[in-house]
Symmetry: C2
Subunit: 227 residues, 2 copies
């Protein structure tokens, strides 16, 4: 345990638990945020099994409502399961394309929206809605907090993977019921994300959707209301 001095500066009590985060670390951490990307292009080289295990250990450190840890992962490896996922993506992507016209449709058709073809590691992330862990704390008024805990865990995985040079892509252009059925998971599990993980073909400090003219980042989200 450490205590905070009255100036708000970390004051070391025990050397065994002194995670001081200095300016250099903070600057590098910010670079990690800058260089984290949704990756859709992967090299075929495998991800070492012990590295993947380590990343999944780190995921357990994510915050969760009531300490419920509701995330459940399925590693999708078989050709059959991968083909089902890919078929769902292709159908959903065609439907999405049909919703756009003109220049927007042409831009959409040119986007690469999933790395399903080459990502060596593919993980389906679910939320176990039946878990009793956490005893319901914090979920009475905002029950979605349980699924949101899984989203937080995925964001931890995203950053941890990037810190090791791995790219992660979140595929949401899928029919959750098709994915759930293809993967034969407990009925209480709800699909949150289908994740592609591997060595990226390229790394960038700007989102691919920005580079390809789909959507720039804007300042609207930066405005703060005061009440």
């Amino acid at each position: 345990m450490m205590k905070i001095s009255s100036e708000g500066v970390l004051e070391q009590i025990s050397p065994s638990c002194s995670p001081l985060f200095d300016d250099e670390f903070c600057a590098r951490f910010e670079k990690l945020l800058v260089w984290r990307r949704d990756v859709r292009g992967f090299k075929p080289h495998p991800v070492p099994a012990d590295l993947l295990e380590h990343l999944l250990d780190l995921v357990q450190l994510a915050p969760s409502v009531g300490n419920s840890q509701p995330w459940r992962f399925v590693q999708v490896e078989s050709a059959e399961a991968r083909a089902s996922i890919r078929a769902s993506f292709e159908r959903c992507n065609r439907e999405a394309l049909a919703g756009f016209t003109g220049e927007r449709a042409r831009t959409y058709a040119g986007l690469k929206l999933a790395g399903l073809d080459r990502a060596p590691v593919q993980l389906a992330a679910f939320c176990d809605g039946s878990t009793l862990q956490g005893h319901g704390l914090g979920r009475l008024t905002m029950p979605e907090a349980l699924t949101w805990s899984v989203v937080g865990a995925i964001n931890i995985l995203w950053l941890a993977a990037r810190s090791r040079g791995l790219g992660l892509g979140w595929v949401s252009i899928l029919d959750p019921s098709e994915v759930t059925q293809a993967l034969n998971v407990p009925s209480s599990w709800r699909l949150i994300a289908y994740l592609c993980l591997g060595w990226p073909e390229e790394v960038h400090d700007t989102p691919e959707l920005e580079r390809l003219g789909w959507q720039d980042r804007t300042v609207q989200s930066r405005a703060i209301l005061r009440r």
Copy 2:
């Protein structure tokens, strides 16, 4: 732009964009994950305005579906607004307590579940469901991906705050409609979280819910299914 060598090792192309994350950084980043906490006890010392602004700049680097950046923040400062939030928490917390009996109820009553009394900075995080940014990409099949983008942004804020020695607490024991009304935000905004931010009274490497006997972390969430 950087390219990845065939061994999966980062290969520097341009010195101006070479955020190599070495083993030392990765080890420290993992410490950041270990020491991030949901904080409910704060010192009263203010958070420098430029530090808060900087953290909110970093939040803009969070991933979002279609690059939609749907997060909207309200900084809650007035005594009137804070009193409304506190009243909502107290009512909801009483209702939650009433749902437990015996030892579990006693433990619940002993938990400190919000830092609303002293946190110098209080932010309500909303999702703007009406945003056109992102042109709906990725939201046709999984519309919740928009709110999940806000959750990701909050997790970035959580880590960035902790790297600077600040603690963040996520309060979900609130009535979203009461909070939305008290803060007078656009009707398309949906409450995702009420966040308390400030200098923590203590820092720990284990969750308070674990220390106080509510819920330990378990290994159930670590099991990986293979398909």
